[in-house]
Subunit: 347 residues, 3 copies
Amino acid sequence: MEFTVKQIAGLIGGEIEGSETLTISQLSKIEEGKPGTISFLSNPKYEPFLYTTEASAVIVDKSFEAKKSFQTTLIRVPNAYTAFTQLLEQYEKLVKASKSGIEQPSYIASSTTIGDHCYVGAFAYVSEHCIIGHNVKIYPHAYIGENVKIGDNTVIHSGVKIYHNSVIGANCTFFANVVIGSDGFGFAPQEDGTFKTIPQLGNVVVGDNVSVGAGTTIDRATMGSTLIQNGVKLDNLVQVGHNVEIGTNTVIAAQTGIAGSTKIGANCMVGGQVGFGGHISVPDNTKIGAQSGVNKTWEKSGLSLNGTPAIQMKDSLRSLAIFRKLPQLEKKISALETIIKESSDSQ
Amino acid sequence: MEFTVKQIAGLIGGEIEGSETLTISQLSKIEEGKPGTISFLSNPKYEPFLYTTEASAVIVDKSFEAKKSFQTTLIRVPNAYTAFTQLLEQYEKLVKASKSGIEQPSYIASSTTIGDHCYVGAFAYVSEHCIIGHNVKIYPHAYIGENVKIGDNTVIHSGVKIYHNSVIGANCTFFANVVIGSDGFGFAPQEDGTFKTIPQLGNVVVGDNVSVGAGTTIDRATMGSTLIQNGVKLDNLVQVGHNVEIGTNTVIAAQTGIAGSTKIGANCMVGGQVGFGGHISVPDNTKIGAQSGVNKTWEKSGLSLNGTPAIQMKDSLRSLAIFRKLPQLEKKISALETIIKESSDSQ
Amino acid sequence: MEFTVKQIAGLIGGEIEGSETLTISQLSKIEEGKPGTISFLSNPKYEPFLYTTEASAVIVDKSFEAKKSFQTTLIRVPNAYTAFTQLLEQYEKLVKASKSGIEQPSYIASSTTIGDHCYVGAFAYVSEHCIIGHNVKIYPHAYIGENVKIGDNTVIHSGVKIYHNSVIGANCTFFANVVIGSDGFGFAPQEDGTFKTIPQLGNVVVGDNVSVGAGTTIDRATMGSTLIQNGVKLDNLVQVGHNVEIGTNTVIAAQTGIAGSTKIGANCMVGGQVGFGGHISVPDNTKIGAQSGVNKTWEKSGLSLNGTPAIQMKDSLRSLAIFRKLPQLEKKISALETIIKESSDSQ
């Protein structure tokens, strides 16, 4: 598919500065631009690349003033980043084949209902008593347990496993090999040193517009529900324990783990490889640095936390700065001890 | 399914204090109890909920003495927690459909033998020369490599991959997307900077009553066996390297990683996101705090370890407490230096 | 399969010291040697086992001089470790059934081309417009998205998911449940607190001789490519973010996570559970200790880094040594304060 610069400028409501008739077939980053591609400049840090890029056209902010000469054609818009994102979305719609229909062989139990315009890939398995909404896509090797509900427009990628009684909202995306609703880790110690399995009878409830990254696991509740609220975004290989609750629009980076019964508020941002202890909570708008270990409940919203155990970010950074100077600190103490000793000896 | 309070009290050998004829159809947590549900009170922390719960009945310890009035019916038993667990198990048996039979299409190699009352789901794949015990359940998209043995009553959930020559005990549960017996990470550096793969010819041997959480990976041994002893419980997304041995009844929380040839004793409890270096061992009854990094062998059993590198828990907590006060400590040292300097200047 | 000591000595060009006619059917570690097995001795640490091993034969370095008597037959070679590795490889070829042919039911789209001598397992799914090289093995439950290229001799294990437009080199191995090319974690915050998905239009490009461990996830680029260069070895459950680049022959241990757009040089060695921040780089030949957190760009090649945040290994070890002594250090400071105070009081 090829478009002229003029067509693209029309699409995003931009003004052209340069050639209208150049053809564009791909998107590129400004530092990697090749002829036939269009890029964008938003972060001033990347401005130097504008003067050297081979991209045929670059989308820039209306207010942008060049400091050197350049070869490329400009398209000026109110916000270059937003305009480029629009273009990405249009492009994605064009290239992403929209699958529909039921491929064979697949397994759909007779008591299950499937909405209109759905896709069920070959080797997908949908158990009894499920209710699958409209326009849902279930890719090959997905497994849907008994009595699962899935809302409209949700996409279940290849290898995703959703256990019985899970309730999934609309417009969600679950990437490959996600596991939803396997048993929580609950074992009662016995007198002989063995452990007895505590039955996990609850389920997982996922809201609308939730994205779950590849290989992430979300355990079912012991009783009640593990809750993932609307708009939550989980990266790859995240572990969510039983009876955990994650608030609306909270974003959690890869390989973070959340132990059982912990509650994370809304609009939180959690870095990668963070660990949360069990039965604690953090309030709305909390930010947590990568690799932190949160081991207690925090009451005040809007804090930034860091470290293991996590403390306030500014305190953590101060202590870490001194941690690096510990050898000097130790020497200073020894020097002081020597001075004191000498001074007392000399008296 | 509905039961009367009287029926349930009979089942768990309890004495009723209140209405025998109320009907119960669900289990609940005491703080979330609704009419028609039964709950339990064991931990005194939850006692306040007894006085406000809407649950129709609550199981309590025989010795429990109420300090306020309440609405719910009590069932008194010697141990409320144990009785409730019994009830959970009964309930689980009722709600969990027990699958059996061979669904089609599935792939079972002709040289493989499958015991009585097994379930093999559609799209499951069982290779040549396997011996599958009685009452084993193999869910859709499970893959069993060549020459694998699986003991009676073991459940292999959807998407589990078990490589050739693995030996799995009885009464085990492997949750979705577990991988057993993929190659250990062994590469011999060559003079030109490349690495040569060291063939991984051993296998994985898993005892009885082992539970393995979703997405966990256990590598096959280079030679000999990676050993998971009876009663071990592994949470989700745990990594077990080649030639590792994990002792009887040891419990390991999510996202912990164990490097090659390391031995973990029996009855250990390991927190989440712990890392173990390779070729070390920890003895029986060791407890290890979350996110610790264990980098050497520990000889004495029964210790609690914490931190990276892991030291004894009490030492770790002491050092961490001071870590938080490092800025003050640094100021004290500067103050001392100033005093000393002034005192020496004044002499 | 059984071989005589003489046959094996011939295969690896060794000189026999003992019985030529003993039969060997298995390989073993020297400390676990049983009659009928052959082992090797390379690391002097293991020499004591030579004098007690039950292995029928042991391969040793030509220069080896025994200090005690022993029962086993020796085969002397220039380098015992290399010779044993050769033997391992021969053995592996014999025991590993080489699969070929297309099992049914499997799904191969009509526009896809598959090379000679390939294996496609039952329930494998290969989408439209793929180009699969010669001698490629695609195991059951593998999913190959649209327009994927796979080089000769590459092995795709069961449950691996490769998304559309990925380009995979020759002689690669992807272990069970690896995910290649799922969407990068990219969301643009909106004014109402929700996040808008940034389309991920790039792909993943993997070089030749790459090994990827079970459950590892590699995200597709937002634009351009996530790049895994020739000879890279990734362990299990590693997370590679969008637009990351990993240089030739770099080795990364289990559960490490690399945030978006970070570049790791060639010939690096990265321990387990390491975290890399986004948009940073480390140069060639960098070594990074397990559980480190790398949060900034390092320019100088050949460094060893450790800790969170990562600093040079020797500095990290010095600070960690003092960290353990913090309680004593605090006491020393208090003692100094007391002395100073007393001395000033007494003046």
